[in-house]
Subunit: 141 residues, 2 copies
DNA sequence: TTGCTTAATGCAATTTGGTTGCAAATATAC
DNA sequence: GTATATTTGCAACCAAATTGCATTAAGCAA
């Protein structure tokens, strides 16, 4: 995984630093989404918040991470898996296990409802309970 | 408009206060969306931020305003126009004139892509340029 | 390998947006 | 008009994001 991270950094012309490797490995090793606060907790002593923040920012700018915000307005980051037909702007996030999956782009029939209003950016977040977590918690059925 | 505001307040069992009337009239008199900061600027001397905040909160709870958040996570409020098939969670916002329109619910075919993942909440914001503003600014064509 | 140059980091401080406790002011019911 | 409960303004606080700057470290070239 370190290998994968190193390659990604090189491909993007970024210096290989411990901070960047650590942060990237968190994402490479999980399907979850993380906030800056999550990373602060993981690396409380090892890395400063501002450095973690700057790494996330850099990764987002390079298209390595996707970024969106939850209902309370906190920024959430997740690995960009470059799924075809996914623009990285539509996600489903499980409130229980925090797993995030990218959703396909909105159907053109829906976007036609915009009429002559021109779309430039969009952001869709659907939150709920994923299949796994529903099965784990029978009381929620 | 004051009349309309007064009626709305009474219908919702809310006391008629200057703060509430002022805030509600901002929304009744416009198709735009406003943040707390916007209202602070409008009423800088007349009303305190906390009172504006509480009015917005109350209106949202009563279903008079819709609330969602923009790309940077700031809460945005707009009048709930009770359009059929609109759940108040999908919006188009013009980056230029700030006009907001509610969009219909996502099509069921799209939601079926969630599979057995169960949706509980959602938030869709599409930003761009509305028809009017495109015509006003020919250089963007 | 060493030194050089530029970029990244840690720390402290700041900004922004949201939120609360409490005393004073005010709307409504009587 | 008066009593009562609600709302308001103020100040303070909180959470998340962001920045300036001195220090440190990465990577290139000699």
């Amino acid at each position: 995984m370190i290998q994968e991270a190193t390659t990604l950094l090189k491909e993007n012309g970024l210096k290989i630093t411990q901070n960047r490797l650590d942060v990237l490995c968190v994402f490479l090793g999980s399907e979850k989404a993380f906030t800056l606060l999550d990373l602060e907790k993981i690396f409380s002593l090892k890395h400063d918040r501002s450095s973690l923040f700057r790494s996330l920012q850099t990764y987002y700018e390079k298209g390595i991470l996707e970024k969106f915000c939850n209902a309370t307005g906190t920024a959430i980051y997740t690995l960009n898996r470059h799924k075809p037909d996914c623009n990285g702007k539509s996600h489903f996030k499980c409130k229980d296990c925090e797993t995030v999956v990218s959703l396909p782009n909105l159907p053109t029939e829906y976007l036609q409802l915009l009429g002559n209003n021109k779309m430039e950016t969009m952001n869709l977040l659907i939150e709920g309970t994923c299949e796994n977590c529903q099965n784990k918690n029978p009381e929620t059925l």
